[in-house]
């Protein structure tokens, strides 16, 4: 029977490398997914993910046992990914202040939910859209993509997002709104459902 994360963390803190390796193997895919969602580039996401685990190891003593290891590693991953994004793409920092009005026409309300059905695990369309998610995310400005990924993958609250990104709560809500609106339009366009103008840029 697999040991719980906290037990592995405790063993790793005691100097057990195999326990830490097990933690890495257990969380690597999701950590990579978080990194990929933010930095977009696969190789960069790979490096960010490895950095995150190395940093986690360095700071194991700061891990509070009442917290979730998954939440902790995801937040460290996101922090590194955001830093990388800022360093890698300084010329795109203007994105931070530039939150344009939606560049796509809004999909009709409810169309995405209806198309994807009530059983999220079973629909073919859901799998198809999941397969094109990276493509859609890649069309968002960095600031919109980051806030959306942190919200959906990391589960950060408005307050946590504001603190993490160093922006007011209202800006968090605004960025989320625009990110979601554009994603809905893009995904509806991929699905061939009511999304006039999807892919058009204003």
């Amino acid at each position: 029977m697999a040991l719980p994360d906290l037990e592995l963390v405790d063993r790793a803190r005691g100097g057990d490398p195999e326990a830490f390796r097990e933690l890495v193997v257990r969380h690597q895919r999701r950590v990579y997914a978080v990194a990929l969602g933010i930095v977009k580039d696969r190789d960069l996401a790979w490096d960010v993910s490895q950095d995150a685990f190395v940093r986690v190891h360095q700071h194991l003593s700061e891990f509070r046992d009442e917290a979730s290891f998954a939440t902790w590693i995801h937040r460290i991953t996101a922090r590194i990914a955001i830093d990388v994004l800022r360093k890698e793409r300084p010329s795109r920092r203007s994105d931070v202040a530039d939150v344009p009005e939606p560049v796509l026409q809004e999909a009709a309300p409810g169309v995405l939910a209806t198309a994807l059905g009530t059983n999220p695990q079973e629909t073919v369309l859901r799998r198809e859209l999941a397969g094109r998610l990276s493509e859609a995310l890649g069309q968002l400005p960095d600031v919109h993509r980051t806030v959306l990924v942190l919200r959906e993958m990391d589960g950060l609250s408005y307050e946590e997002l504001a603190e993490r990104l160093g922006i007011p709560r209202g800006t968090v809500m605004s960025r989320l709104f625009h990110a979601r609106k554009k994603m809905q339009a893009l995904l509806a366009g991929y699905a061939g459902i009511d999304a006039p103008g999807a892919g058009d840029r204003s």
């Binding site: 963390v9 100097g15 895919r29 997914a33 190395v54 409810g110 999220p120 408005y158």
Partner: protein, 161 residues
């Protein structure tokens, strides 16, 4: 509140909105079918974002990932340098203070031995197998070789000895 004011509030979680926003959104949703549909869209989108990124991650071969991480952690980090948890900290404390613990356990016997040696030295009849050094009329330093290394005992002589 109208749709334009309500839509940015959609997708919030319980407790995230202030009471005014919460009340406004709730009132709006009770009468606006479109915004209820938008809310359903957000839930669907949320799931697709998560699924999509995990699908993308699953396309990657992770066979060398853990090895890469482990290779970047210095070997020394696995020899007591890694920061311990509660149990680990207790183990580390005992490990770090083994000498102190041993000395504490042996303190009464060692004190008696030191006194015995000191008395023996001052009377000229004590054993000579231990390194005993009288540093002053009142102090005697006894160096004992133990399994934890040398232990120095400093005993203060009582008057009249």
């Amino acid at each position: 509140v109208r749709c334009a004011g309500a839509t940015p509030l959609l997708g919030s979680r319980p407790g995230e909105l202030d009471p005014t926003e919460e009340a406004a959104l709730s009132a709006h949703l009770s009468t606006c079918e479109s915004c209820r549909a938008r809310q359903a869209d957000l839930a669907a989108l949320s799931q697709v974002v998560e699924d999509g990124l995990l699908v993308e991650a699953s396309r990657r071969d992770f066979s060398g990932f853990a090895d890469g991480v482990m290779a970047r952690i210095p070997t020394s980090a696995w020899h007591g340098d890694a920061a311990p948890g509660p149990l680990g900290r207790l183990r580390d404390f005992v490990r770090r203070h083994r000498i102190l613990a041993t000395a504490s356990a042996l303190a009464p016997a060692l004190a008696a031995l030191a006194l015995y040696l000191y008395i023996g030295r001052t009377t000229g009849t004590g054993p000579s197998g231990f390194g005993v050094e009288v540093t002053s009329e009142d102090l005697a330093a006894v160096v004992l070789e133990t399994s934890d290394g040398p232990v120095i005992l400093v005993g203060e002589a009582s008057d009249g000895t």
